[in-house]
Point group: none
Chain length 255, copies 2
């Protein structure tokens, strides 16, 4: 996507072809490849500036991204240090602080298996931790890294009737809650997630293409709007070895 702005100058500064995200991805790839093992120092910002032909700001933005998702440790006066180099076998979903929560996660391919109106009965409502006898839209979604690869996640999603009209593209790359946000002008402000391990039921095993009884990481997500309204409930089943959740936490500085 030919970028080419310029200042008030006469020359054509010709912006670099790289955005900070491109650079971040590239660096992550190199870390995974072992070019910068754990404990090693990354090249200095100045070097990266030269290498990628971008401004220092852009490099710093990329490094910030890597730090946020737990790859780097940064300190004033010394180059960034690699603190994680987990190989990307079964990829890692890094939550810097939020939201790539179940997000596009590096651009997963979502397949909508079904979508239907349901009434939650007592038992099911209890399991989902919401009010019984209410109407919801139930969807089943498979998520893959590649359009033809094995799925790493099978999700059962329940959407509040108010947002029943939400539409998903054929090969949607966004998470459902992102689509809801954009189509209904609500803001998901809070997500409560519960994670546990479980054995794959035949139902789940079939969709994830794993043996029945395989260890599954099960994440129950409750999405709330900024007004405290329950918008979406998700039960995400992750196939073993194909997915890993990473969370980076910072202790609050002053306040």
């Amino acid at each position: 996507m030919a970028r080419s702005g310029q200042q008030g100058a006469i020359e054509a500064p010709v912006r670099s072809r790289f955005g900070y995200r491109d650079i971040a991805k590239r660096l992550i790839g190199e870390i995974h490849a072992g070019d910068w093992p754990v404990g090693a120092k990354l090249p200095t910002e100045a070097v990266l500036v030269d290498r990628f032909g971008v401004s220092r700001n852009t490099v710093r933005e990329a490094l910030r991204e890597l730090r946020d998702i737990g790859y780097l440790s940064k300190r004033r006066g010394t180059p960034s240090v690699v603190i994680s180099a987990v190989t990307e076998k079964g990829f890692v979903n890094s939550i810097g602080s939020i939201s790539e929560l179940l997000e596009y996660a590096g651009g997963a391919h979502n397949t909508l298996l079904s979508s239907e109106q349901v009434v939650l009965l007592r038992e099911q409502a209890l399991r989902l931790d919401c009010a019984p006898d209410t109407e919801w839209v139930r969807m089943q979604v498979l998520r893959r890294r590649d359009p033809i690869g094995l799925p790493f996640c099978y999700s059962e999603l329940f959407v509040h009737p108010r947002f029943a009209g939400v539409t998903l593209e054929a090969d949607e790359r966004r998470a459902l809650y992102r689509a809801i946000e954009q189509q209904f002008d609500v803001v998901i402000a809070r997500v409560v997630q519960e994670i546990e391990a479980a054995a794959a039921s035949s139902h789940v095993a079939l969709r994830l293409e794993v043996p029945e009884g395989s260890p599954i990481m099960l994440a129950r997500n409750h999405f709330y709007s900024d007004e405290g309204e329950l918008v979406e409930i998700g039960m995400a089943h992750f196939a073993p070895g194909r997915y890993r959740l990473r969370i980076a936490l910072d202790r609050r500085r002053a306040d």
Copy 2:
């Protein structure tokens, strides 16, 4: 307000009295005070620039801080929205109340099974995602809700030699990193956690008193000091059905 930065000018640059942290603190104070209730939009960046007499970069840095710690939701094209008006002490950054995340030891009864000096070989270092050929103290800990109940967690902990002298009470109730903080006057400033499902090895199954091959939730924790030093590594194995990890995420990144 005395702004007067400039480029190659002759005037004295005289920076604004406010840094982005000052501005962040101030805005947080105003949010706490109710000036900007939940759901309200903050003034636009341009307005804040005028108000504080700083550059747009500085304002954006402050807003980024507020987003990171869960006060704001940001979206391109529209002013930031306040999504939370409360403060959590201690750990947090977006991840709502880490207390639960990291305090799973809190209130639990910990049993120290072993403690020994080890040198991490390449393979093991790789698995733990840290530098090889380094010396660490390895501990094994069992966690129970009741002194006589079944354990819900078996942890393998690796402590940096500098903190090797850390002592645990017979029936310690604190998490190890807490003990380290208090005994060595360091501050754990960053934690990176990775979660995945796995089948219980015979070793783990024995200690958790579950059948071999049971679905296990495996959490790898890396604890870093405020100086970026790796202090502790933990591999926590959770027994199925006996434990559930709950994470409350507050909004951050909206792009």
